[in-house]
């Protein structure tokens, strides 16, 4: 699958636009746009991608199509998963308490491995 970041970068360069200009148009920082272009962050929400297409004059909807495809294949972000599964957050926070104790942490991981194998 094509990289969203690279596709965005190509569209931006062909429009001769700076990262700051895109950022200001969608209300995000230069750092955020750079992270997106280098695929360090997932594509923004579809409404934002649509705004970017407007700004860059992308008429074939290629950015939106790509973002949809990528987002469909991606797991939701950790914060979304925590909202959907509050017990997951609780379990992780409990695990953090024993994080410094390597023996206990290994035991916990072994237990998880066993449970996954069941």
């Amino acid at each position: 699958m094509a990289s969203f970041g690279l596709t965005l970068k190509k569209a931006r360069i062909s429009k001769k636009a700076t990262l700051r200009e895109i950022g200001e148009y969608i209300g995000k920082s230069i750092g955020y746009i750079s992270d997106i272009e280098h695929d360090r962050k997932r594509p923004p929400d579809l409404e934002t991608v649509s705004k970017i297409e407007d700004f860059l004059g992308v008429e074939d909807g290629s950015l939106l199509k790509l973002a949809k495809k990528i987002r469909k294949n991606m797991k939701p972000s950790l914060s979304t998963r925590f909202k959907q599964k509050p017990k997951l957050k609780y379990a992780l926070l409990r695990a953090e308490k024993i994080y410094e104790d390597e023996d206990k942490l290994n035991k916990l991981l072994e237990t998880l491995n066993k449970l996954e194998g069941e």
């Binding site: 931006r12 636009a17 700076t18 920082s29 750092g31 750079s34």
Partner: protein, 195 residues
């Protein structure tokens, strides 16, 4: 402690000034004809990679590091914090012009040197020898070259000399060219001009 650097190919003042002027004439001639500030951010974001093959990026960097250029990785990076700091616009412009100088002049210098070392010694990796900065002659010092280039790009000699002749202050020059007063002072000195 003095830093250690890899010497760059020799470059005179005149050679660096010409490089900067040619870029301005090619990408934004209105800097010379209509008194515009050179749009270094657009040059960095839109043209630098196409021109040099060096990928540009903005990253979170350690405190006190505002940018770097890596000739092995072929990347030129500017600090995200600096780019987003509204109080450091002038310093941001000069840092970006400085790193642009490295990307334009030194990435190819160093890659070529490494290729030669590899071909002579038939090794996979050619490591370049570093020298104490104080032992490198000025015209081969990559930091001096990059700052000289930044000055020539942001304060091009013809426009800068014309502005000085019109009887402006250091502060006026700083605002006119979008750089800090300290950088204006350096440029005045390197062009042997007085206000």
């Amino acid at each position: 402690m003095t830093r250690r650097l890899v010497p760059a190919n020799p470059r005179s003042n005149a050679k660096i000034e010409t490089l900067a002027l040619n870029l301005i004439r090619c990408y934004q001639p209105a800097v010379l004809s209509h008194g515009e500030q050179f749009d270094i951010e657009r040059f960095f974001d839109v043209y630098l990679e196409e021109l040099t093959g060096v990928e540009t990026d903005y990253q979170r960097l350690e405190v006190g590091i505002y940018g770097y250029t890596d000739s092995d990785e072929m990347v030129c990076v500017i600090s995200q914090d600096l780019a987003e700091d509204p109080w450091s616009k002038y310093f941001y412009r000069s840092t970006m012009a400085h790193e642009t100088g490295h990307a334009l002049m030194h990435v190819s210098d160093y890659r070529q040197k490494k290729a030669i070392i590899r071909s002579i010694h038939k090794k996979d990796h050619g490591n370049l020898r570093t020298y104490r900065e104080s032992d490198i002659v000025l015209y081969r010092n990559p930091e001096w070259q990059a700052w000289r280039f930044a000055g020539a790009l942001l304060m091009p000699a013809p426009a800068f000399e014309e502005a000085v002749r019109s009887g402006v202050t250091e502060r006026d020059l700083s605002q006119r060219f979008g750089v800090n007063p300290k950088f204006v002072k350096t440029r005045l000195k390197s062009l042997k001009l007085k206000l």
